[in-house]
Amino acid sequence: MSGQFAAVGAPIKNVQLLGHVTGTTQYVDEISFPGMLWIKAVRSPVARGKIRKIDTSRAEKVPGVIKIITAKDVPNNIHVNMAGIGIGPPDEPVLPEDEVKYKGEAICLVVARDEETALKAAQLVEVEIEELPPVLDMEEALKPDAPVITKWGVNAFIYGSGMDGATKPGRPGRPFFLVRRGDVETAFKQADKVVKGSYVIPPIEHAPIEPHVCVAKPEPGGKLTIYTTTQAPYFVRDNVATILNIPASNIRVIAPAVGGGFGGKVDPEFEMQVAVAAMRVGRPVKWRWTREEEFTISTTRPAIKVEMEDALSKDGLILGRRARLLHDSGAYTRTSPYGVIKSTVNLSGPYHIPNVYYEGYCVYTNRQPSSAMRGYGVFEVSYAVELQMERDARTLGVDSWEFRFKNAYRNGQVTATGRPIDDAYLVEVMKEAASLAGVKLPPHLLQMSSWG
């Protein structure tokens, strides 16, 4: 194929390679300005609690400390995250006013002349917290007697109620995202075998080798330049503009080379805090997260739990599927309601299941917020779906290749959400995969195609 095209199928050199091998690629951590100050955060030692007192007096006396930033210093103390594209609600403060919701949440920021001074002073800030019982498990969070950790009274996102800002407000909604097609009750009545499975994935850290680093530099005329390790400069700009109450046109976000992101640098997580600090002190300010902060504060891929039940016919078809998916959003919303939608609509995998009933819950717990990671919402569910396919095949006593070939989407079919399929290639891909893996497929499978 590559012979016929100039670009398709032809390898392309990574344009940054020369910079990488000569060490001249510029990352945020190389950006420095005269008089630049450094940030360290005072972080919550508990997963949930009421802030009773923040005493900064000892820390302020440390030579080299310029200012300690608390919620009071934030002009508009709400992290809008991606509300601009209909992912909400904005439920996360830039710095908490009275309550901390996860262990490690930044309570206040020490701005000092260097990193050591900031760290030393941060250790001297005394925070009095009244510890509250945390919710750390998704099933526990959904129980009626669980401590409520959201503003709207349930530890789950309410789909269809307008709380995300994208749909019309005022409707009752449901505490889960629903995907329904066909008649799942009848499918289970007609089933020759019913197979149940439960699948759990823990949170996964993106672990880029470059941690989060941000430099914010106030410019004349109330403007601000932000250099940051981001995959999404516009999200940063929108958030900072809203939080500082200044026009977005006053903010310039520069994203130099990123030392690995994998989705972990999509959410604006700390740029708002650096921006507030820089505007308050009127000097360039830098914050470089440690590896510990990278693991314990930055977002992760969500933990999920999927319970699945398949109605199977003895000739090897999936007649129907019921599933309940729990997705751990952590303490705040970030992108999770969107991630749950992706997960829930993908609960059929690349297979044709005519009758389905799926509930996807976006659950809030007192854990570090989760968000996007490569194949957001899909990878987590694929794990559950493919294990369930193996389990189905074993229960029926058929080869799992055969089971997948039979149930793979064919062109002309319709997905659970009603999209007509016109680009199915799973049968062809599986044939190729089998050949690469040295698996000899029987002739009747090799005769199959996505077109019939």
Binding site: E116, K120, Q123
Partner: protein, 279 residues
């Protein structure tokens, strides 16, 4: 006592190092390879007024004379791999240190002080019945490694003493070290086992030394298992029996790296793997 300015000291002789240590005591942080000590400083866990670096003290050597192996305390791990004639367990432990840079930086002496999940060299040395040479202002003292640990981060060393060398007298003819890490190519130790062994011609063990690392802050010898194996013909049944006593009365670390249950299981697997090779 004279005031010593804060700063970085790199004494050129052992004598100078010892006198500095005596003068500065807890005000100073001793640094050999730096792989463990420097983190204390960079993460501000410790804020020493002074650093005493052993980089210039001539303790980087390996001497093998007759039945005695002596290793200078600041010998880097990579030197062990460049040296022929060292006991197998020591070489295998050295090979398992994480990557080229760490092998070049970390020292044999420093490793003895470094707690789990590091300290593999100490585990190997313990199974070789090594002795530590400590030099202080009042002369030289030797302490068997098996009597050096007095609890987590508590060592049998005086304020004015410096560990100068590690000696192995009569190294066992057979020895082997195995460790389990979360990654394929080295990394933090979940569990490690090192065995030193002398067999007679009937495959009866004349001398057995078993050391376990990773399960506790510092490695320990397993006397009960050693006694079970001594003077008996090595069989898989006997090994199986001895494996049951690797963690008697041991409070095993249970943390994010691995559960105590898993560490125990792995220690038994490694122990059996090593000994079954010698049947």
């Amino acid at each position: 006592m004279s005031q010593v300015a804060s700063g970085y000291y790199a004494p050129a002789s052992l004598r100078d190092a010892i006198s500095l240590k005596r003068r500065l005591r807890e005000k100073a942080l001793f640094v050999a390879g730096g792989t463990a000590a420097v983190q204390l400083v960079s993460k501000m866990i410790a804020e020493p007024e002074a650093i005493i670096s052993l980089e210039k003290v001539p303790l980087d050597y390996v001497k093998i004379r007759g039945n005695v192996v002596e290793i200078g305390a600041t010998t880097p791990i990579s030197r062990l791999l460049e040296t022929r004639g060292l006991p197998t367990a020591l070489r295998e432990a050295a090979e398992n240190i994480h990557g080229l840079a760490l092998k070049d930086m970390a020292t044999v002496g420093g490793n003895i002080f470094t707690p789990a999940p590091a300290g593999d060299i100490a585990t190997a040395l313990l199974s070789l019945d090594a002795t530590l040479v400590l030099r202080g202002t009042r002369g030289v003292r030797t302490v068997p490694l098996s009597k050096f640990y007095r609890g987590p981060l508590k060592y049998n060393i005086k304020a004015d003493e410096v560990l100068t060398a590690i000696r192995i007298r009569r190294p066992p003819r057979l020895s082997s070290f195995l460790k389990q890490t979360p990654w394929r190519y080295s990394g933090p130790t979940i569990a490690s086992v090192s065995v030193g062994l002398d067999l007679d011609k009937n495959k009866k063990a004349r001398r057995v030394m078993v050391a376990i690392g990773g399960l506790t802050t510092h490695p320990y010898r397993v006397k009960r298992a050693e006694r079970l194996l001594t003077s008996k013909k090595l069989t898989s049944e006997l090994i199986e029996e001895a494996a049951k006593h690797l963690v008697d009365n041991v409070d095993i670390i249970d943390d994010a790296l691995a559960s105590s249950w898993y560490r125990e299981v792995i220690a038994q697997v490694l122990f059996k793997k090593i000994l079954n090779r010698f049947i």
